[in-house]
C-alpha cells in the first residue's frame, strides 16, 4: 500500500518535470516566437548597405562635370567587434585609439548590427589586410563606396558644392532614419540643393553568416535583397566653357559673377573667387585642409556670387527710375536739373559732372548722382523700398543652391528699428538713391535684377538645373521654377533699357566695352567701401534688342566699375554669344569679312 503511494509520488514528480519543460516550450515557441525569430535573423543575417552611385552632373551641352569613382571604406559592426582589436585597427587606418573609441561610442541603437564606416578612402593594402585577417578582426569589414570624381579641369566650386560626412548634429535632426553615421551628404552648392535627388536610395543585401562571421551565401538566394537605386543626374543650364572662362577672368581677384538667361532664369555661369579644389572633399577630408579653408582670411568657402551683402552703387539707380515712372512722379520725358552737386541740410553730396536738365536715360548714361539724390527724395523711402523689393532685393532670388543671403533692403521700419523713429533723417535716404549706404545686395540678386530689366519685367527664378535625369529610364524630368510678371509697365522698362544701352553705346560710363558685333547694354557701379578700396560692379545684358544673357560682375576692392568689372562682363558676353574671348578677337574674326 505504501509502495503504491510512493509510486504515485514518482509519477507526479516526473510529470511535473515534463510539464514544466512543456510549459516552457509553449512559452518560447507558441506564445512569442517572433521575438526569437528576429534574434535568430539578426544573429545569422548580416545586412550590408549598398551605397548607390550619386547622380552625375552635366553641363547644358551634356559635358560630364561631376562623376563618381569607387573608393574603399573600413567599416565596423559594433556587435561583432572585439575591442581588443582596437590597437590593430588603429595602426591599420592610422588613427589614434581615442578617435576610434569615440567613433565606436557613437554607434548605438540599431546601428550596432550594421557596418558603420570608420575611415573612408583607404588604400587597397588595408583592404587586403582585412581580408587576410578576418579571424582576429571580427566585425571589421570594408565597403566600396562611390566618391566624387571631377573628370575635367572644370571647377565650378561654389555652384557644384561638396559632400561631406554627415555630422552628429545633422544625424540627430534628420527626419526619418535614412542617414547613418559615416554617410556622405551634400553640404553645399548643388550637392546640397539636390541632395534628395542626387543621393539615390540605399540598397540592402542580406547575407547569411556563420557564428565566426564567415559569409555563407545570400539569404533566400538574394530574393529579399533591395537593390540600391542610383541618384538622379543633374543636367545644368551652366555652360562649362563660359564658366571656365569666367573663372579665369576672375582669377587672382576676389569677387563674384552670375550670368543668367533673361528668357528663362537659367544660370549660364556662377563664379566666386577665391575658390578651392573640390577634390579636397572627395574621399576623406584632411582636418588640416579643413582648418586651412576655414581660417583663410580670403574666405574661399564663402560664396561671393550669392552670399555677399555689398552696396551696389550706381547699378541700383534704375530702381529709383522705375519707381518714379510707375508712381507717376516722373513722366518718360520729365527732366531733373543736375548742377554737379547737391546740398541737403548742411551736407553737400558731390557728383562727377554737371549735366543740366536731363531725362532718365541720360541720367543712367552718365550715372548722374544729383539726379538720383533728388529723385529718391521725390519718391520717398517707402516707394524706394517697395520697388527694390519688386525687383528682387531684400529677399532671396530662389536660386537652387542653399547658400544665399537675403541682403538688406532698408525701409522706414528698418531705420525706425535700427536708430529709433527720431534717430534718422532723410539724409540717410539720399545716399540710398545712388545705391550706397546700408543697402546690401549679392551678385545673383543683381543678375536677376538685370535680367528683369532686360526682359521688361518678368521674374524667372534663377536656377542651375534644367533637368533631372532618371538613371533607370534615361527620362529627362524638367524642373519647374517660378515665373511672375512684375507690377511695372513694360514701356517704363524701355526707358531704362535705352539708358543702359547708352551707357555702353552712347557717351556713357561703360563705353570702353563697346563691341562692334554685339550690342551690350549695361550699368557701372562703384560701391563705397569704408574698409578699403571700393568694390567694382557692372551689370549688363546683350544683345540689347534681344537679350540672351544678363550678367553681374562684382570685384571686391577693385575701384571703378567701368575699369575692372565691365571688361570682365564684356568678355563673358562675347564668349557666350560669339564663342570669342575678347573684342580684339571679335574684330579679327568679323573684320576679315
Amino acid at each position: 500500500m505504501d509502495l503504491t503511494k510512493r509510486k504515485n509520488f514518482y509519477y507526479v514528480f516526473s510529470f511535473i518535470i515534463c510539464f514544466v519543460i512543456g510549459g516552457r516550450l509553449v512559452q518560447l515557441q507558441v506564445i512569442n516566437p517572433e521575438k526569437f525569430d528576429k534574434d535568430a535573423e539578426r544573429n545569422s543575417v548580416k545586412t550590408i548597405i549598398t551605397t548607390p552611385a550619386r547622380g552625375l552632373i552635366f553641363d547644358r551641352n551634356g559635358r560630364l562635370l561631376v562623376d563618381n569613382k569607387p573608393s574603399y571604406s573600413v567599416t565596423i559592426t559594433k556587435k561583432e567587434f572585439d575591442t581588443n582589436a582596437i590597437g590593430i585597427v588603429c595602426s591599420l587606418i592610422n588613427v589614434e585609439p581615442a578617435f576610434l573609441k569615440e567613433e565606436l561610442k557613437k554607434i548605438e541603437g540599431t546601428n550596432r548590427f550594421i557596418p558603420t564606416r570608420i575611415m573612408r578612402d583607404v588604400d587597397f593594402r588595408v583592404i587586403s589586410f582585412i581580408e587576410e585577417n578576418r579571424e582576429i578582426l571580427k566585425g571589421v569589414d570594408y565597403s566600396i563606396d562611390p566618391i566624387r570624381l571631377y573628370p575635367t579641369d572644370f571647377r565650378g566650386t561654389h555652384l557644384i558644392g561638396y559632400t561631406k560626412e554627415i555630422s552628429q548634429n545633422m544625424l540627430n535632426k534628420q527626419q526619418g532614419d535614412y542617414y547613418k553615421q559615416g554617410d556622405l551628404i551634400g553640404t553645399t552648392g548643388l550637392e546640397a540643393g539636390y541632395e534628395n535627388y542626387l543621393r539615390g536610395e540605399k540598397g540592402y543585401e542580406f547575407i547569411l553568416q556563420d557564428s565566426k562571421g564567415k559569409e555563407v551565401g545570400p539569404l533566400n538566394d538574394g530574393k529579399n535583397d533591395v537593390k540600391s537605386i542610383s541618384g538622379y543626374d543633374l543636367i545644368l543650364s551652366v555652360d562649362a566653357d563660359v564658366q571656365k572662362y569666367a573663372e579665369t577672368l576672375l582669377e587672382g581677384r576676389t569677387g563674384g559673377i552670375v550670368a543668367l538667361d533673361p528668357n528663362n532664369g537659367e544660370v549660364i555661369c556662377l563664379v566666386s573667387k577665391p575658390d578651392y579644389d573640390l577634390n579636397y572633399f572627395s574621399g576623406k577630408l584632411s582636418p588640416q585642409v579643413w582648418t586651412a579653408l576655414n581660417t583663410d582670411p580670403n574666405k574661399p568657402l564663402f560664396n561671393r556670387a550669392t552670399q555677399t551683402r555689398y552696396p551696389p552703387g550706381s547699378t541700383y539707380k534704375m530702381v529709383s527710375a522705375l519707381a518714379s515712372l510707375e508712381e507717376g512722379i516722373m513722366k518718360p520725358n520729365s527732366t531733373i536739373p543736375c548742377e554737379g552737386s547737391f546740398r541737403f541740410g548742411d551736407k553737400v553730396f558731390g557728383d562727377h559732372g554737371a549735366y543740366g536738365s536731363i531725362t532718365i536715360p541720360t541720367s543712367i548714361e552718365h550715372s548722374s548722382n544729383v539726379f538720383y539724390y533728388k529723385l529718391v527724395l521725390r519718391i520717398g523711402l517707402d516707394n524706394w523700398s517697395k520697388y527694390g523689393r519688386i525687383l528682387g532685393f531684400g529677399d532671396k532670388t530662389g536660386i537652387d543652391i542653399p547658400e544665399e543671403t537675403k541682403g538688406l533692403l532698408p525701409s522706414t521700419e528698418y531705420y525706425n528699428k535700427r536708430y529709433g523713429p527720431k534717430g534718422w533723417t532723410e539724409g540717410y535716404v539720399v545716399s540710398l538713391g545712388i545705391g550706397q549706404g546700408e543697402l546690401g545686395v549679392s551678385p545673383v540678386q543683381m543678375a536677376n535684377y538685370t535680367a528683369m530689366l532686360s526682359n521688361s519685367g518678368t521674374y524667372y527664378q534663377p536656377h542651375l538645373v534644367k533637368f533631372l535625369k532618371n538613371p533607370q529610364t534615361g527620362e529627362l524630368v524638367p524642373v519647374t521654377y517660378k515665373k511672375r510678371e512684375l507690377p511695372i509697365k513694360k514701356e517704363y522698362f524701355k526707358i531704362i533699357q535705352k539708358g543702359m544701352y547708352l551707357v555702353v553705346n552712347g557717351n556713357g560710363t561703360g563705353r570702353s566695352i563697346r563691341s562692334s558685333e554685339v550690342q551690350i547694354a549695361g550699368k557701372t557701379g562703384t560701391a563705397q567701401n569704408p574698409h578699403g578700396q571700393d568694390h567694382s560692379w557692372f551689370i549688363a545684358y546683350a544683345p540689347a534688342d534681344d537679350p540672351k544673357i544678363a550678367i553681374c560682375v562684382m570685384v571686391e576692392n577693385a575701384g571703378f566699375g567701368a575699369t575692372v568689372a565691365a571688361p570682365i562682363a564684356q568678355r563673358i558676353i562675347l564668349k557666350y554669344l560669339l564663342g570669342l574671348t575678347d573684342e580684339s578677337e571679335v574684330k579679327e574674326t568679323f573684320g576679315a569679312n
Binding site: Y11, S14, G22, R24, L28, Q29, K35, A40, D210
Partner: protein, 409 residues
C-alpha cells in the same frame, strides 16, 4: 506466441527509447551537417546505436541473478576506471574524464551512473545482509556507495555528473523504504541552502517551513532541534562560502543562474539556444533549415545542446513529441519498478528513472533558460558513445525487469 512476446517484452519502453535515439540521430546529422571536423559523429552514433541494440537484447535475456551478482564487480571496475582516468585520461576543456580507446572516447563517469545504481540496488535488496536504510550503519553505507564516485568525478572535475549521483540517492532510498520524515531531514539543509542563496527572506521562510514540518512530524525534540540547527547552519554557510570565493568564481555561479549577465561567456550558449528554440515556432524551420543550427551559433551543439536542433528545425510539435516520449519512457519505467517483484531490478528501475528525469530537467531546463547552466547531456539523444551505451544498458535492465517482473529472487 504473439501474446507471449508482448507478455515478455515491453514494446512501449523499447519503441519510445528508439524513437528518441532516432530523433537524436537526425539532430546530430543536422548539427554536424557540412562541418568536416565532426562529420564522423553521426556515423559513430549510428554504429553505437546498432551495437547498443545487441547489448540491450543481451542484457534483457540475462538471468536477473547474474545481473545482481555482477553489480559490485561492475561497480568496482568502474571505480578503478575513474581512478585511472585521473592519471591516464585526456584533458579536454579542463576536464580529465576521457580515455581514448581505438578512436572511441570512453567516459567512465557515464558507466559509473549505471554501476552506482546497480550497487545501491544490490546492497538495498540483499536479503542476507537484511539492509535497513533507517539504520545509520546501512544508511551511511548506501551514502558511501554514492560518495566514492562523486569524489572521483569531482576531481576530474565534472560538476554536472556529480550532481546526478547526489540526486539519484534520495529517490532510490525512498523507494527502498526510507520514511518520509528522514527524507525530510536530509532535504531540509539543502532547502535552506538554496533559499539562503536566493535571499534573506527566502531563507527565513525556509527555516519557518522546516520548523513547521518538524512540529508536524512530532519526532524526538532533540533530533528536531538538531535538524533545524543544521539547516540554519547550512543556510548561513552558503553565503559565507560564496563571499569567500574569487570574483571570477562568483561570476561563474551567477551566470549559471542568470546567463544574460554574461552574454559572451557562460551565458552565450543559453542565449543562442533560447533563440534557436524560440525561432522554431510551432512547426519549425524544417530539417537542415535552422539558421542557428546550420550556421553553428551553438558550439558543440551535438552534445549537451542537441535539443536546440529539434526545437529549431522541428518546432513545438517535434519538441513536445520528444518530451512526451521521455514522459512515456519514465512512467513505464516507474510502472515496471512497481510491478517488478525482484527488488534489485525494481530499485534499479527507480534509479534509472531518476537519472533520466534529472537529465531531462537539467538539460532541457538549461537549454531553455530556466535552469542553471550545468553541462549534462540529454538521454538517448546527445552525441557520445559512452553516454548512449550507458543509456542502453539501463534500457536493457529495464526491459529485463519487465521480462522477469513476476519472479521473486
Amino acid at each position: 506466441m504473439q501474446t507471449k512476446l508482448f507478455e515478455r517484452f515491453n514494446f512501449v519502453v523499447f519503441i519510445s527509447a528508439f524513437a528518441l535515439i532516432t530523433f537524436g540521430l537526425l539532430a546530430i546529422y543536422s548539427a554536424t551537417y557540412g562541418n568536416e571536423l565532426v562529420s564522423g559523429n553521426f556515423t559513430k552514433q549510428l554504429i553505437s546505436a546498432c551495437i547498443g541494440i545487441l547489448i540491450v537484447l543481451a542484457i534483457m535475456y540475462t538471468p536477473p541473478k547474474y545481473l545482481s551478482m555482477s553489480s559490485y564487480l561492475f561497480y568496482g571496475l568502474v571505480i578503478l576506471l575513474l581512478i585511472a582516468v585521473l592519471f591516464l585520461g585526456k584533458k579536454i576543456k579542463g576536464q580529465t574524464s576521457w580515455f581514448s580507446i581505438a578512436g572511441f572516447g570512453i567516459q567512465p563517469s557515464e558507466f559509473a551512473k549505471v554501476a552506482t545504481v546497480m550497487a545501491l540496488a544490490f546492497f538495498l535488496s540483499n536479503k542476507h545482509q537484511d539492509a535497513d536504510v533507517t539504520k545509520p550503519r546501512d544508511f551511511f553505507f548506501a551514502v558511501g556507495i554514492c560518495i566514492i564516485p562523486v569524489v572521483l568525478i569531482m576531481l576530474q572535475p565534472d560538476m554536472g555528473t556529480t550532481l546526478v549521483f547526489l540526486f539519484l540517492l534520495l529517490p532510490v532510498l525512498y523507494w527502498a523504504g526510507m520514511p518520509n520524515y528522514i527524507m525530510f531531514f536530509i532535504i531540509a539543509p539543502a532547502i535552506t541552502a538554496v533559499c539562503a542563496f536566493l535571499g534573506t527572506w527566502y531563507f527565513v521562510a525556509a527555516v519557518l517551513f522546516i520548523i513547521a514540518m518538524m512540529l508536524l512530524f512530532k519526532r524526538n525534540i532533540l533530533i528536531s532541534v538538531v535538524i533545524v540547527c543544521i539547516s540554519i547552519a547550512s543556510g548561513l554557510s552558503v553565503n559565507m562560502v560564496y563571499s569567500k570565493l574569487q570574483p571570477y568564481q562568483q561570476k561563474r555561479i551567477m551566470s549559471m543562474f542568470n546567463p544574460e549577465s554574461d552574454p559572451l561567456g557562460a551565458g552565450y550558449n543559453v542565449i543562442q539556444s533560447k533563440i534557436a528554440i524560440g525561432s522554431g515556432g510551432l512547426t519549425g524551420k524544417g530539417f537542415l533549415q535552422g539558421t542557428q543550427t546550420q550556421l553553428k551559433y551553438i558550439p558543440e551543439q551535438w552534445t549537451d545542446f542537441i535539443f536546440c536542433m529539434v526545437g529549431e528545425e522541428f518546432g513545438f510539435i517535434g519538441s513536445i513529441a520528444v518530451v512526451l516520449l521521455f514522459l512515456i519512457l519514465i512512467w513505464q519505467t516507474i510502472h515496471i519498478a512497481y510491478i517488478c517483484k525482484n527488488q534489485f531490478l525494481s530499485i534499479c528501475c527507480i534509479g534509472f528513472a531518476t537519472i533520466f528525469s534529472f537529465h531531462i530537467l537539467i538539460n532541457l531546463g538549461m537549454i531553455m533558460g530556466i535552469m542553471p547552466v550545468i553541462g549534462i547531456p540529454l538521454p538517448f539523444m546527445s552525441y557520445g558513445v559512452s553516454f548512449l551505451l550507458s543509456n542502453l544498458i539501463m534500457l536493457g535492465i529495464i526491459l529485463n525487469a519487465y521480462r522477469n517482473r513476476k519472479d521473486y529472487v
